[in-house]
Amino acid sequence: MFRISLYRRKMNKKSMAFWFLIELIAGLAAAFILTQIASDYAKGTIFLKTKIARDLAIEVNTLYAVSGDVYLQYPQNLSDYRVEFDEKTDIVKVYKEIDPLKPSYPYVGEHIDYLKDFKVDFLEFNKENNKIIFEK
């Protein structure tokens, strides 16, 4: 502390302004890098999880809009994620093993063979007699 005080005493106004400018540039650069990392993160994993959750909810809704029996395999490999269809809230959640962010999306469907928190490579929907059954 004593050394720093002495150093500051020796500094003139020009050098102080120079260091202030350096600090300002460093601060702005750090803010820019952080924003970029956050933005990339948002476009990557969170985006994919959100997209899958919405996609699965729309698929459930679409299956009910089709009369007759339907078999459908979801084309995206879901082996990196866990999928959860919540019976109480009618919400589908997609997340990783340890994940603070669990993107979710609501669907409207009463006749589902619910599977809680499952992990599959390719999710298969099987609609028979207007009831959706998930094949593992």
Partner: protein, 154 residues
Amino acid sequence: MEEPPATSKVVAYIVFGFIFSGFCILLFFIISKETISIADIPKGLEEYVFIQRFLSSQDCFAYQDKETLRIYPGIIDLEKFKQERLEDKEENKCYKIEKGTNAPNFRLIIGNKKIQTTNDFESIKKKNTIKKSILIFKEGKFENAGLEIQYETK
């Protein structure tokens, strides 16, 4: 040059705290906005899918031949066109909105018969209306009719 007093340091930390918190909130806002906009469902798709359900599902209002059990998508059985099929009841397999979810509300009108997913439909601000010409099955006969669908938009 004198050392700044301790009180000014505290003030500086408080100011920094406010700026830092503001920056974090801004960052969170950017992330969530970016995510939502990229993975957005095309406008009107969700409502279209639900309307198709009302017209095509045997659990909703689609006419089903009692002998062959064949379902006729697009033809509405007026006997099935009842308020109970849109209400929050255990036996409802057509369209039951769970509390706390933001699934869109609907109101369907055929002639003077009106059914809706919520009693509070009038208070919904963002709504859209579509009208369709359909076939209805009424008292053993097929008839032409008009179906008006009002739905909540996001």
